[in-house]
């Protein structure tokens, strides 16, 4: 999922798409980062 979102962000940055649903990944990534941190034991999961 992170790879998909990063691909969307890169496509938006490069001007290959004007689909704003790619742009929202830029701030939505924080949820996945927190999930990964939780799964790794670096952040207590709720």
């Amino acid at each position: 999922m992170i790879a998909i979102q990063m691909t969307g962000i890169r496509a938006f940055c490069d001007g290959r798409t004007a689909d704003l649903r790619m742009a929202i990944f830029d701030h939505q990534l924080a949820f996945l980062h927190a999930l990964v941190a939780g799964l790794r034991g670096w952040l207590p999961l709720p």
């Binding site: 004007a18 704003l20 830029d26 924080a30 941190a37 670096w42």
Partner: protein
């Protein structure tokens, strides 16, 4: 944030112009939409991401990387420790977005390099970097506005 403000605002302008405007028929609404595009186009070159969150991220990353380097040095991985310290010292002094980008790239690189180290030493270092990443994720989440994902998917 990985998308520069200017790129983001120009992308929003382009989408409004190309994908939204053709479907707006009301004269008043079209005028308002053109005005919004005009505002966005002119703001794009004058704005940047707030520096305080980036400063916090860079300081946190630098602290974690220096702590990791010290732990690596204790474990005998002197070359990697020295490379990390040198990298942190060489991050661009400005703009802050470039420093944050350098910090993110260095973290990714170190995680890859840890794969080549003995398991116990790498296992001791990963949580040091992970602590920063976890804290950074929480800091980013705190700044988020209530999500409109449901509306976005519903259309």
């Amino acid at each position: 944030m990985r998308i520069p403000v200017e790129t983001l605002l120009n992308g929003v302008s382009r989408t409004l112009l190309e994908q939204v405007l053709p479907h707006v028929t009301s004269r008043t609404a079209r005028g308002q939409l053109y005005a919004a595009i005009d505002v966005l186009r002119n703001a794009a070159r004058r704005l940047d991401w707030a520096s305080a969150p980036l400063e916090t991220e860079v300081q946190s990353a630098a602290g974690a990387l220096r702590t990791a380097a010290a732990r690596l040095r204790e474990g005998g991985a002197e070359a990697l420790a020295a490379r990390i310290d040198a990298s942190v010292a060489a991050w661009p002094s400005a703009p802050i977005s470039a420093r944050a980008g350098a910090a993110q790239a260095e973290l990714a690189r170190v995680f890859e390099e840890l794969e080549a180290l003995p398991g116990p030493l790498a296992d001791a270092v990963r949580p040091i970097l992970g602590g920063h990443l976890a804290a950074q994720a929480v800091r980013a989440l705190v700044l988020l506005q209530p999500s409109l994902l449901e509306e976005i998917s519903r259309g």
